[in-house]
Protein backbone atom coordinates (compact mmCIF):
# COMPACT_ATOMS: atom_id res chain seq x y z
CA UNK A 1 0.00 0.00 0.00
CA UNK A 2 2.87 2.32 0.86
CA UNK A 3 4.46 1.83 -2.56
CA UNK A 4 1.15 2.43 -4.27
CA UNK A 5 0.73 5.81 -2.55
CA UNK A 6 4.23 6.85 -3.51
CA UNK A 7 3.46 6.11 -7.12
CA UNK A 8 0.32 8.24 -7.03
CA UNK A 9 2.07 11.16 -5.37
CA UNK A 10 4.78 11.01 -7.96
CA UNK A 11 2.24 11.58 -10.73
CA UNK A 12 0.52 14.42 -8.90
CA UNK A 13 3.77 16.29 -8.47
CA UNK A 14 4.55 16.26 -12.18
CA UNK A 15 4.76 19.70 -13.73
CA UNK A 16 2.99 20.29 -17.02
CA UNK A 17 6.22 20.12 -18.96
CA UNK A 18 6.82 16.71 -17.47
CA UNK A 19 3.33 15.52 -18.42
CA UNK A 20 3.83 16.65 -21.99
CA UNK A 21 7.21 14.98 -22.03
CA UNK A 22 5.71 11.77 -20.69
CA UNK A 23 3.06 11.78 -23.38
CA UNK A 24 5.65 12.44 -26.06
CA UNK A 25 7.88 9.67 -24.81
CA UNK A 26 4.96 7.26 -24.64
CA UNK A 27 3.92 8.09 -28.18
CA UNK A 28 7.50 7.86 -29.38
CA UNK A 29 7.81 4.36 -27.91
CA UNK A 30 4.52 3.32 -29.52
CA UNK A 31 5.60 4.40 -32.99
CA UNK A 32 9.26 3.42 -32.71
CA UNK A 33 10.13 0.40 -34.85
CA UNK A 34 11.37 -2.36 -32.60
CA UNK A 35 14.50 -4.26 -33.55
CA UNK A 36 15.95 -7.18 -31.70
CA UNK A 37 19.64 -7.93 -32.08
CA UNK A 38 20.99 -11.37 -31.45
CA UNK A 39 23.62 -13.50 -33.09
CA UNK A 40 23.58 -12.51 -36.77
CA UNK A 41 21.77 -15.12 -38.75
CA UNK A 42 20.09 -14.41 -42.07
CA UNK A 43 17.84 -17.08 -43.38
CA UNK A 44 16.32 -16.57 -46.79
CA UNK A 45 14.21 -18.85 -48.82
CA UNK A 46 12.54 -19.01 -52.16
CA UNK A 47 9.40 -20.93 -52.88
CA UNK A 48 8.12 -21.76 -56.29
CA UNK A 49 4.52 -22.76 -55.76
CA UNK A 50 2.64 -22.86 -59.00
CA UNK A 51 -1.04 -22.12 -58.91
CA UNK A 52 -3.27 -23.58 -61.58
CA UNK A 53 -6.85 -22.47 -62.03
CA UNK A 54 -9.50 -24.15 -64.14
CA UNK A 55 -12.36 -21.89 -65.19
CA UNK A 56 -15.65 -23.31 -66.42
CA UNK A 57 -19.23 -22.16 -66.77
CA UNK A 58 -21.87 -23.57 -64.45
CA UNK A 59 -22.59 -26.17 -67.10
CA UNK A 60 -19.02 -27.41 -66.94
CA UNK A 61 -18.06 -25.94 -70.31
CA UNK A 62 -14.46 -24.68 -70.13
CA UNK A 63 -13.94 -20.92 -70.41
CA UNK A 64 -11.53 -21.38 -73.29
CA UNK A 65 -9.68 -18.20 -74.20
CA UNK A 66 -10.95 -16.30 -71.15
CA UNK A 67 -9.06 -13.22 -70.01
CA UNK A 68 -7.23 -13.66 -66.71
CA UNK A 69 -6.01 -10.90 -64.38
CA UNK A 70 -4.01 -11.74 -61.27
CA UNK A 71 -3.83 -9.19 -58.43
CA UNK A 72 -1.17 -9.30 -55.71
CA UNK A 73 -2.30 -8.65 -52.11
CA UNK A 74 -0.49 -5.33 -51.78
CA UNK A 75 -1.90 -3.80 -54.98
CA UNK A 76 -5.52 -4.79 -55.53
CA UNK A 77 -6.10 -2.29 -58.36
CA UNK A 78 -3.28 -3.05 -60.81
CA UNK A 79 -2.98 -6.52 -62.32
CA UNK A 80 0.24 -8.24 -61.31
CA UNK A 81 -0.15 -10.57 -64.26
CA UNK A 82 -2.56 -10.95 -67.16
CA UNK A 83 -3.04 -13.89 -69.50
CA UNK A 84 -5.44 -16.15 -71.35
CA UNK A 85 -6.95 -19.49 -70.36
CA UNK A 86 -6.12 -22.42 -72.62
CA UNK A 87 -8.69 -24.50 -74.45
CA UNK A 88 -9.57 -26.35 -71.25
CA UNK A 89 -10.00 -23.17 -69.21
CA UNK A 90 -6.65 -23.66 -67.47
CA UNK A 91 -4.23 -20.94 -66.44
CA UNK A 92 -1.09 -21.27 -64.35
CA UNK A 93 1.08 -18.78 -62.54
CA UNK A 94 3.66 -18.68 -59.78
CA UNK A 95 2.83 -16.02 -57.19
CA UNK A 96 5.59 -14.00 -55.58
CA UNK A 97 5.84 -15.57 -52.12
CA UNK A 98 7.50 -12.40 -50.88
CA UNK A 99 4.06 -10.83 -51.14
CA UNK A 100 1.98 -13.02 -48.84
CA UNK A 101 -1.74 -12.64 -48.46
CA UNK A 102 -4.81 -13.21 -50.57
CA UNK A 103 -4.11 -13.24 -54.30
CA UNK A 104 -7.17 -12.43 -56.39
CA UNK A 105 -7.63 -13.99 -59.80
CA UNK A 106 -10.30 -12.60 -62.14
CA UNK A 107 -11.50 -14.59 -65.16
CA UNK A 108 -13.76 -13.05 -67.84
CA UNK A 109 -15.17 -14.22 -71.13
CA UNK A 110 -17.97 -12.84 -73.32
CA UNK A 111 -19.70 -10.82 -70.65
CA UNK A 112 -19.38 -13.39 -67.87
CA UNK A 113 -16.76 -13.55 -65.22
CA UNK A 114 -15.82 -14.37 -61.68
CA UNK A 115 -13.08 -14.10 -59.11
CA UNK A 116 -11.24 -16.60 -56.98
CA UNK A 117 -9.21 -15.71 -53.90
CA UNK A 118 -6.08 -17.73 -53.20
CA UNK A 119 -4.14 -17.49 -49.92
CA UNK A 120 -0.37 -17.40 -50.39
CA UNK A 121 2.14 -17.46 -47.54
CA UNK A 122 1.52 -17.18 -43.82
CA UNK A 123 -0.26 -13.83 -43.70
CA UNK A 124 -3.56 -14.15 -45.50
CA UNK A 125 -5.01 -10.78 -44.62
CA UNK A 126 -5.91 -8.69 -47.63
CA UNK A 127 -3.76 -5.70 -48.53
CA UNK A 128 -6.52 -3.24 -47.95
CA UNK A 129 -7.80 -5.05 -44.88
CA UNK A 130 -8.19 -3.09 -41.69
CA UNK A 131 -6.65 -5.72 -39.42
CA UNK A 132 -4.54 -4.67 -36.43
CA UNK A 133 -4.42 -1.16 -35.00
CA UNK A 134 -3.77 2.00 -36.94
CA UNK A 135 -1.48 4.70 -35.60
CA UNK A 136 -4.55 6.77 -34.75
CA UNK A 137 -6.03 3.92 -32.76
CA UNK A 138 -2.76 3.33 -30.94
CA UNK A 139 -2.56 7.04 -30.14
CA UNK A 140 -6.10 7.04 -28.78
CA UNK A 141 -5.42 3.98 -26.66
CA UNK A 142 -2.27 5.47 -25.19
CA UNK A 143 -4.15 8.70 -24.45
CA UNK A 144 -6.80 6.62 -22.68
CA UNK A 145 -4.13 5.03 -20.49
CA UNK A 146 -2.59 8.40 -19.64
CA UNK A 147 -5.98 9.91 -18.90
CA UNK A 148 -6.80 7.00 -16.61
CA UNK A 149 -3.58 7.52 -14.67
CA UNK A 150 -4.07 11.27 -14.33
CA UNK A 151 -7.72 10.86 -13.43
CA UNK A 152 -6.85 8.40 -10.72
CA UNK A 153 -4.20 10.76 -9.44
CA UNK A 154 -6.64 13.68 -9.35
CA UNK A 155 -9.17 11.58 -7.47
CA UNK A 156 -6.75 10.65 -4.72
CA UNK A 157 -5.33 14.17 -4.67
CA UNK A 158 -8.74 15.59 -3.88
CA UNK A 159 -9.31 13.00 -1.16
CA UNK A 160 -6.02 13.99 0.52
CA UNK A 161 -6.98 17.68 0.59
CA UNK A 162 -10.37 16.94 2.19
Amino acid sequence: MHKENNYIVFIIKLKWQSVIAAIAITMAFLFMPMEVHAHGVNINYTSNVEVEIIATYDSGTPMAGAQVAVYAPDDPTTPWLTGICDGEGRFSFTPDTARPGIWDVQVRLAGHGGMIHIPVGGDTTTADGQGGFSHLQIGIMSACVIWGSIGTALYFSKRRKT
Binding site: Y57, R108, H112, G114, H117, W147
Partner: protein
Protein backbone atom coordinates in the same frame (compact mmCIF):
# COMPACT_ATOMS: atom_id res chain seq x y z
CA UNK B 1 3.10 30.09 -18.05
CA UNK B 2 1.74 27.06 -16.23
CA UNK B 3 -0.99 24.71 -17.31
CA UNK B 4 -2.79 23.03 -14.41
CA UNK B 5 -3.09 19.29 -14.59
CA UNK B 6 -6.91 19.37 -14.90
CA UNK B 7 -6.62 21.47 -18.07
CA UNK B 8 -4.14 19.06 -19.57
CA UNK B 9 -6.26 16.10 -18.52
CA UNK B 10 -9.41 17.58 -20.03
CA UNK B 11 -7.53 18.33 -23.24
CA UNK B 12 -6.43 14.73 -23.49
CA UNK B 13 -9.98 13.56 -22.80
CA UNK B 14 -11.28 15.81 -25.58
CA UNK B 15 -8.78 14.31 -27.99
CA UNK B 16 -9.79 10.80 -26.94
CA UNK B 17 -13.50 11.52 -27.33
CA UNK B 18 -12.95 13.17 -30.70
CA UNK B 19 -11.00 10.14 -31.84
CA UNK B 20 -13.69 7.75 -30.63
CA UNK B 21 -16.46 9.77 -32.26
CA UNK B 22 -14.60 10.04 -35.57
CA UNK B 23 -14.92 6.34 -36.34
CA UNK B 24 -11.79 6.20 -38.47
CA UNK B 25 -10.89 7.21 -42.01
CA UNK B 26 -13.69 7.71 -44.49
CA UNK B 27 -14.32 8.42 -48.15
CA UNK B 28 -17.17 8.71 -50.61
CA UNK B 29 -18.94 5.56 -51.84
CA UNK B 30 -21.14 5.92 -54.92
CA UNK B 31 -23.77 3.45 -56.07
CA UNK B 32 -24.53 3.18 -59.81
CA UNK B 33 -27.12 1.31 -61.86
CA UNK B 34 -26.17 0.21 -65.37
CA UNK B 35 -28.42 -1.26 -68.07
CA UNK B 36 -25.44 -1.39 -70.43
CA UNK B 37 -25.52 -0.79 -74.17
CA UNK B 38 -28.34 -3.30 -74.60
CA UNK B 39 -30.68 -0.76 -73.04
CA UNK B 40 -29.06 2.46 -74.27
CA UNK B 41 -28.45 1.41 -77.87
CA UNK B 42 -30.90 -1.42 -78.38
CA UNK B 43 -30.09 -4.87 -79.74
CA UNK B 44 -31.40 -7.79 -81.76
CA UNK B 45 -33.05 -10.56 -79.77
CA UNK B 46 -32.29 -14.23 -80.28
CA UNK B 47 -35.43 -14.54 -82.43
CA UNK B 48 -34.55 -11.65 -84.73
CA UNK B 49 -36.52 -8.75 -83.20
CA UNK B 50 -34.68 -5.44 -83.25
CA UNK B 51 -35.48 -3.93 -79.87
CA UNK B 52 -35.08 -0.30 -78.82
CA UNK B 53 -36.08 0.98 -75.40
CA UNK B 54 -37.77 4.26 -74.51
CA UNK B 55 -37.75 3.62 -70.77
CA UNK B 56 -36.56 0.85 -68.49
CA UNK B 57 -37.75 1.69 -65.00
CA UNK B 58 -36.40 -0.45 -62.20
CA UNK B 59 -37.19 0.15 -58.53
CA UNK B 60 -34.33 -0.53 -56.13
CA UNK B 61 -34.42 -0.67 -52.34
CA UNK B 62 -32.46 -1.99 -49.35
CA UNK B 63 -29.19 -1.23 -51.11
CA UNK B 64 -26.12 -2.03 -49.05
CA UNK B 65 -22.41 -2.49 -49.63
CA UNK B 66 -20.19 -4.74 -47.55
CA UNK B 67 -16.61 -5.47 -46.69
CA UNK B 68 -16.38 -9.22 -46.23
CA UNK B 69 -13.50 -11.45 -45.17
CA UNK B 70 -13.38 -14.00 -46.67
CA UNK B 71 -14.97 -12.63 -49.84
CA UNK B 72 -18.64 -13.49 -50.26
CA UNK B 73 -19.28 -16.57 -52.37
CA UNK B 74 -22.53 -16.15 -54.33
CA UNK B 75 -22.77 -19.90 -54.87
CA UNK B 76 -22.85 -20.55 -51.12
CA UNK B 77 -26.54 -19.71 -50.91
CA UNK B 78 -25.93 -18.04 -47.55
CA UNK B 79 -26.30 -14.43 -46.45
CA UNK B 80 -23.47 -11.91 -46.52
CA UNK B 81 -21.38 -11.93 -43.34
CA UNK B 82 -19.76 -8.50 -43.28
CA UNK B 83 -17.31 -6.73 -41.00
CA UNK B 84 -18.35 -3.36 -42.41
CA UNK B 85 -21.65 -2.35 -43.98
CA UNK B 86 -22.83 0.84 -45.68
CA UNK B 87 -26.56 1.01 -46.33
CA UNK B 88 -28.71 3.39 -48.38
CA UNK B 89 -32.05 4.45 -47.00
CA UNK B 90 -34.95 4.88 -49.33
CA UNK B 91 -36.40 3.48 -52.53
CA UNK B 92 -35.06 4.51 -55.93
CA UNK B 93 -36.85 4.19 -59.26
CA UNK B 94 -34.22 4.49 -61.98
CA UNK B 95 -34.70 4.77 -65.74
CA UNK B 96 -31.86 2.65 -67.08
CA UNK B 97 -32.55 3.97 -70.62
CA UNK B 98 -32.05 7.56 -69.55
CA UNK B 99 -29.63 9.56 -71.67
CA UNK B 100 -28.26 8.93 -75.13
CA UNK B 101 -26.62 5.89 -76.64
CA UNK B 102 -23.33 6.70 -74.99
CA UNK B 103 -24.76 7.81 -71.64
CA UNK B 104 -22.79 6.71 -68.59
CA UNK B 105 -24.26 4.48 -65.87
CA UNK B 106 -26.75 6.26 -63.65
CA UNK B 107 -25.77 7.22 -60.14
CA UNK B 108 -28.39 6.08 -57.65
CA UNK B 109 -26.99 7.67 -54.50
CA UNK B 110 -23.79 8.18 -52.58
CA UNK B 111 -22.54 7.97 -49.02
CA UNK B 112 -19.99 10.63 -48.20
CA UNK B 113 -18.62 9.17 -44.96
CA UNK B 114 -18.15 5.49 -45.73
CA UNK B 115 -15.37 3.69 -43.89
CA UNK B 116 -12.34 3.02 -46.04
CA UNK B 117 -11.63 -0.49 -47.26
CA UNK B 118 -12.61 -2.87 -50.01
CA UNK B 119 -16.37 -3.14 -50.55
CA UNK B 120 -16.37 -6.57 -52.16
CA UNK B 121 -20.06 -7.40 -51.81
CA UNK B 122 -23.34 -5.62 -52.46
CA UNK B 123 -26.99 -6.46 -52.04
CA UNK B 124 -30.27 -4.87 -53.04
CA UNK B 125 -33.89 -5.65 -53.74
CA UNK B 126 -36.26 -4.86 -56.55
CA UNK B 127 -39.89 -4.36 -55.61
CA UNK B 128 -43.01 -2.69 -57.06
CA UNK B 129 -42.84 1.10 -57.00
CA UNK B 130 -45.46 2.82 -54.87
CA UNK B 131 -45.72 5.84 -57.17
CA UNK B 132 -44.32 7.39 -60.33
CA UNK B 133 -44.13 6.03 -63.88
CA UNK B 134 -43.48 2.47 -62.68
CA UNK B 135 -46.14 2.42 -59.94
CA UNK B 136 -47.18 -1.11 -59.09
CA UNK B 137 -44.26 -2.74 -60.89
CA UNK B 138 -40.69 -3.55 -60.00
CA UNK B 139 -39.52 -3.42 -63.63
CA UNK B 140 -41.18 -1.64 -66.57
CA UNK B 141 -39.78 -1.87 -70.10
CA UNK B 142 -41.28 0.28 -72.85
CA UNK B 143 -40.06 0.60 -76.42
CA UNK B 144 -40.38 -0.63 -79.98
CA UNK B 145 -39.55 -3.99 -81.53
CA UNK B 146 -39.22 -4.46 -85.29
CA UNK B 147 -38.91 -7.55 -87.44
CA UNK B 148 -39.61 -8.21 -91.11
CA UNK B 149 -41.39 -4.89 -91.58
CA UNK B 150 -43.54 -5.41 -88.49
CA UNK B 151 -43.29 -2.85 -85.68
CA UNK B 152 -44.65 -3.35 -82.19
CA UNK B 153 -44.76 -0.78 -79.42
CA UNK B 154 -44.40 -2.78 -76.25
CA UNK B 155 -44.80 -2.35 -72.52
CA UNK B 156 -43.57 -5.25 -70.40
CA UNK B 157 -44.22 -5.13 -66.67
CA UNK B 158 -42.57 -7.31 -64.05
CA UNK B 159 -44.15 -7.37 -60.59
CA UNK B 160 -41.90 -9.82 -58.77
CA UNK B 161 -39.97 -8.87 -55.64
CA UNK B 162 -36.41 -10.15 -55.66
CA UNK B 163 -33.41 -9.96 -53.38
CA UNK B 164 -29.96 -10.02 -54.90
CA UNK B 165 -26.76 -10.89 -53.05
CA UNK B 166 -23.64 -10.22 -55.06
CA UNK B 167 -19.91 -10.46 -54.59
CA UNK B 168 -17.24 -8.23 -56.05
CA UNK B 169 -17.70 -6.29 -59.29
CA UNK B 170 -16.06 -8.06 -62.22
CA UNK B 171 -14.99 -5.92 -65.17
CA UNK B 172 -12.22 -3.95 -66.83
CA UNK B 173 -11.37 -2.27 -63.54
CA UNK B 174 -11.84 -3.26 -59.93
CA UNK B 175 -14.44 -1.24 -58.10
CA UNK B 176 -15.28 -0.65 -54.46
CA UNK B 177 -11.75 -0.05 -53.16
CA UNK B 178 -12.15 3.06 -51.02
CA UNK B 179 -9.18 5.03 -49.71
CA UNK B 180 -9.27 7.90 -47.23
CA UNK B 181 -10.65 11.08 -48.77
CA UNK B 182 -11.13 9.32 -52.09
CA UNK B 183 -14.19 8.16 -54.06
CA UNK B 184 -15.06 4.58 -54.96
CA UNK B 185 -17.87 3.23 -57.10
CA UNK B 186 -20.09 0.17 -56.93
CA UNK B 187 -22.35 -0.93 -59.75
CA UNK B 188 -25.62 -2.81 -60.01
CA UNK B 189 -25.58 -4.17 -63.54
CA UNK B 190 -28.56 -5.46 -65.52
CA UNK B 191 -28.10 -7.74 -68.53
CA UNK B 192 -31.26 -7.56 -70.63
CA UNK B 193 -29.86 -9.99 -73.19
CA UNK B 194 -30.58 -12.63 -70.57
CA UNK B 195 -34.29 -11.96 -71.06
CA UNK B 196 -34.45 -11.48 -74.82
CA UNK B 197 -31.35 -13.38 -75.96
CA UNK B 198 -28.68 -12.07 -78.29
CA UNK B 199 -29.01 -12.43 -82.06
CA UNK B 200 -25.26 -12.09 -82.41
CA UNK B 201 -24.69 -15.31 -80.50
CA UNK B 202 -25.33 -18.84 -81.77
CA UNK B 203 -28.83 -20.14 -81.10
CA UNK B 204 -27.38 -22.94 -79.01
CA UNK B 205 -25.35 -20.55 -76.83
CA UNK B 206 -26.22 -21.06 -73.18
CA UNK B 207 -27.46 -17.48 -72.89
CA UNK B 208 -29.87 -17.96 -75.79
CA UNK B 209 -31.03 -21.33 -74.57
CA UNK B 210 -32.08 -19.76 -71.26
CA UNK B 211 -33.54 -16.51 -72.69
CA UNK B 212 -37.20 -16.26 -73.66
CA UNK B 213 -36.66 -13.97 -76.66
CA UNK B 214 -39.16 -11.35 -77.78
CA UNK B 215 -41.56 -13.48 -79.81
CA UNK B 216 -43.74 -14.45 -76.82
CA UNK B 217 -44.37 -10.76 -76.15
CA UNK B 218 -45.06 -10.11 -79.86
CA UNK B 219 -47.67 -12.85 -79.58
CA UNK B 220 -49.27 -11.01 -76.65
CA UNK B 221 -47.99 -13.10 -73.77
CA UNK B 222 -48.16 -11.66 -70.28
CA UNK B 223 -44.73 -11.20 -68.72
CA UNK B 224 -45.72 -13.08 -65.59
CA UNK B 225 -46.37 -16.18 -67.69
CA UNK B 226 -43.09 -15.94 -69.56
CA UNK B 227 -40.45 -14.47 -67.29
CA UNK B 228 -39.30 -16.08 -64.06
CA UNK B 229 -36.92 -13.53 -62.61
CA UNK B 230 -35.10 -16.08 -60.46
CA UNK B 231 -34.06 -17.94 -63.60
CA UNK B 232 -33.25 -14.96 -65.82
CA UNK B 233 -29.84 -14.00 -64.38
CA UNK B 234 -30.79 -10.41 -65.18
CA UNK B 235 -28.75 -8.99 -62.34
CA UNK B 236 -24.96 -8.88 -62.19
CA UNK B 237 -22.14 -6.85 -60.71
CA UNK B 238 -20.34 -6.01 -63.93
CA UNK B 239 -19.86 -9.51 -65.31
CA UNK B 240 -20.05 -11.21 -61.93
CA UNK B 241 -23.14 -13.21 -61.07
CA UNK B 242 -25.42 -12.76 -58.07
CA UNK B 243 -27.50 -14.96 -55.81
CA UNK B 244 -31.18 -14.30 -56.41
CA UNK B 245 -34.30 -15.05 -54.37
CA UNK B 246 -37.70 -13.91 -55.67
CA UNK B 247 -41.25 -13.93 -54.39
Amino acid sequence: MKFPIPVIALSILAVVLAGCAGGGATGKLQFYANGEDFVRQGFVSKDGWSISFDHVYITLSDIAAYQTEPPYDTSSGTGIDAKTEVALDGVYTIDLAEGGEDAPPIMVAEVSDASVGHYNAISWEISPASSGPAAGHSLVMTGTAEKDGQSIDFTINIDEECEYLCGEYVGDVRKGILKEGDTAELEMTFHFDHIFGDGELPQDDELNLAAVGFQPFADGADAAGVINMADMHLVHVGEGHCHCACE
